[in-house]
Subunit: 279 residues, 2 copies
Amino acid sequence: MPKRKRVAFQGERGAFSEEASVQLLGEGLDLDPRPSFEEVFAALAGGSADYAVVPIENTLAGSVHENYDHLLRFKLPIVAETSVRIVHNLIARPKVRFSQVSRVFSHPVALGQCLKFFRKHPRIRPENYYDTAGGVKMLMEQAPDGAAAIASAAAAAFYGASILRRSIEDNRQNFTRFFLLARRPPRRSPAGAKGWKTSIVFTTRNIPGALFRCLSVFALRDINLAKIESRPLRGKPWEYLFYLDFLGSVGETRCRNALRHLGELTDLFQVLGCYRQGG
Amino acid sequence: MPKRKRVAFQGERGAFSEEASVQLLGEGLDLDPRPSFEEVFAALAGGSADYAVVPIENTLAGSVHENYDHLLRFKLPIVAETSVRIVHNLIARPKVRFSQVSRVFSHPVALGQCLKFFRKHPRIRPENYYDTAGGVKMLMEQAPDGAAAIASAAAAAFYGASILRRSIEDNRQNFTRFFLLARRPPRRSPAGAKGWKTSIVFTTRNIPGALFRCLSVFALRDINLAKIESRPLRGKPWEYLFYLDFLGSVGETRCRNALRHLGELTDLFQVLGCYRQGG
């Protein structure tokens, strides 16, 4: 029997991160839910997990900035990406009827993505909870009066709860992109292979046109950017780190040249990972 | 008697936004605290406030993305900026001693900026609350057992509470930048005046090198960028809006030329405001 892959993710069993883990690594995983993103990174760094799966951005809420900070600090390479369509369901204990629901526990981001539902049903009050799937777990354990949760269908199934209303999110264009992290990058990066993406982080020197020059190393080599994100530099008010994804692999000569060129223009510069573009 | 300026801000009296309001407009204001950022924008748009003061970024936590979204939607011009140093204090009802404190209510961002304090005093539990100053108000009204709050010295003074420990934040380099919004931009923009800043938002066409071309309109005219920020476009997964601040005024010819040039390269393009650089 091959050893099962141990995967750390944030949240409770049934979280969207669990769905991403299965998309990235298949079934039969040894799932290791952790209370915080920092503990997910620490589990991988410390060797108690083989992989970590973390959300990095949502098409409505934007980037998960905390995880960008951890990527820089823990230096654990990104080895794959995937995206999960976020479907929010109204979930309650079996036999609870919709008319009995007066309050709904979920993560504030999930509650904020179901505002039309709450406007249509003003008798139902949203209540902040630390986690989406954790809300379902709590319902099943504590059976609070008139309570429901908003979470994934996987969470309802895992805890044996019932779905009262399916897909109550305001906007169907709701996807979360997840990274798969490992302790070490893969041995070889593909040379010239299509469909690869590379994520990097850098700080510009504080001179006019600095970011423009940094982007020129890609534009002049016809390398497409997929994303750019700025984050404040800790301890240096109003200075920024840039997180950038480009389409290409560190195994390609033009990308290696671009990165060498970027190194000349930046103070800090780090490759966060090179991975196949996800669906 | 001149009419007092009516200023809407998010939070309770004593919030950091109140401190920013006084820095921006002076004393003697008619302060209008609102529960949400959306209601702050709506109060100004609807005419029940003359000004709105909103946080836009913190040097540790990053941008307040929700307010970028409201700037685009409400089209209320930025007319000034300022920054406030964030000092977090442990605050309790008068006569409560430090040894009696077992839990601390505050906004999750504030709690997350005082982790060293909680590590040093493991008997004290952080508890999420919707607002920093609101936590002080709640202590004074409800007197929960063993409770303290983390908030500004202004909040302690306003509600008549006591400061048990001053400046318990982990990092002193903790500043929040605020925008002053009005219903209409000022009549005239300064031509060639030093010390002005302009904030814009745009979307790039989905072609290679699109962002690089957009930044070239500034770099080729020696216009310095102060900040660039990306936000996901609603309903268009993995496409982005860019928020950009540059040093210069829309009254300057080179800046007007740069903006006209940018208009040729972008799908959506909007000036959010032109204002004097704040301290």
